[in-house]
Symmetry: C2
Subunit: 225 residues, 2 copies
């Protein structure tokens, strides 16, 4: 970057691979590389390998490529992402049976979002089905992705920076701003995307700054540093 700043992209996107995510941003004019994108699925694959787990995957077809080479035979844990239409009663039952069949049920959720907006209306996000399976299996899910501190920690390590040297910019007050602040970073909320005016009076999270858009956020950072 011309500014000399180190930049990474953190997304909770779990309907597509990082490659597809980068392509989408390139079309919009962002010059970024896949290795600078941090998403829940690759973070989870790392956890799965470290802990020698075999997941039952209830994720979007578009995400499956991220799990290439992962052993899914005789599953001993359940992974859910934003599976959208694949969240059928049958698929939820199947995931539940894997869960309840374990001595210690283990559930991973790629994010904990409640809902998002698409052109044809509001859609339920992965967090809703996480809550469903948590109740069914009497288990607490491990959330991978924002706002997990482990997730942000991996990104900090990749940048070789300390939390106080880093600013997180996002439109999601709780997962972007609050998550980053919990790790010791500063958090700026942009008034675009899923931003809502009521965010500025939120009960527990207060951004270090609210700015109109990403350009304003960059300007603010370049000015004050």
């Amino acid at each position: 970057m011309d500014s000399g700043l180190t930049v990474r992209f953190c997304t909770n996107e779990t309907q597509n691979t990082r490659e597809q995510f980068v392509q989408k941003l390139r079309v919009m004019g962002f010059d970024i590389s896949v290795s600078h994108v941090f998403a829940p699925a690759p973070a989870l694959v790392r956890i799965i390998r470290e802990r020698h787990l075999r997941p039952h995957l209830l994720v979007h077809d578009g995400l499956m490529a991220e799990f290439e080479g992962v052993d899914t035979s005789s599953p001993n844990c359940v992974v859910i992402g934003d599976a959208a239409d694949k969240f059928s009663y049958q698929n939820l039952n199947e995931a539940f049976r894997v869960l309840i069949g374990q001595e210690k049920p283990l559930l991973f959720s790629l994010g904990r979002g409640r809902y998002y907006k698409e052109t044809d209306g509001l859609k339920l996000d992965v967090g809703v089905f996480m809550k469903a399976l948590e109740y069914a299996g009497d288990v607490q899910a491990e959330v991978v992705g924002k706002p997990s501190a482990d997730f942000f920690g991996t990104v900090l390590k990749d940048m070789s920076l300390q939390p106080h040297e880093v600013v997180m910019i996002g439109d999601d007050l709780v997962n972007d701003v609050g998550g980053a602040q919990s790790c010791g970073m500063k958090g700026i909320q942009v008034r675009t995307g899923k931003y809502r005016p009521s965010d500025e009076q939120h009960a527990s999270v207060r951004a270090d700054a609210y700015v109109d858009d990403l350009a304003a956020a960059s300007h603010a950072i370049l000015t004050v540093r």
Copy 2:
């Protein structure tokens, strides 16, 4: 009944009407009338009429007859029952949109069960989707049916009996036994159906008696009264 005891049947069945429920029991040799069966759907219909509500129904097709004559136009609340295969992503999104579109979202759940067993395996029950929609809509559901005190209260009133005069017999420790005990009744658990040996060491609910089956429960009641 020969014994002179007053008997009522409380079920959380929400896949069929009371008529069908009674037919099933008649085949099994129980001589009961529909007016002695208490189920969540008719209890909810009473609430809906009292509060002049117009529900969006996400319930099993087999239950729809219980809602005959109920105004479902421009819905201002959401009702979920054990809808089974009708718990699709699309139907859940639709229920959620009705919920989030209200100034004060109002969600009714016909029971709060986690799962039940069918011949082809464990199935997720209505409570799981209640938790899902509660999280999505940031709302607490009103549960109709066991173990709701209102529900048991209606049955007591119908019998013109005081709680201490009544014994509840059931296979579900929390919803049958615990629910009845919370209302001041005695609760007996039968070691059939969904009974599990671990129920006898439950952290918060302790039945007044555990018996092998319904015949043993009747015998115990007839002997001690």
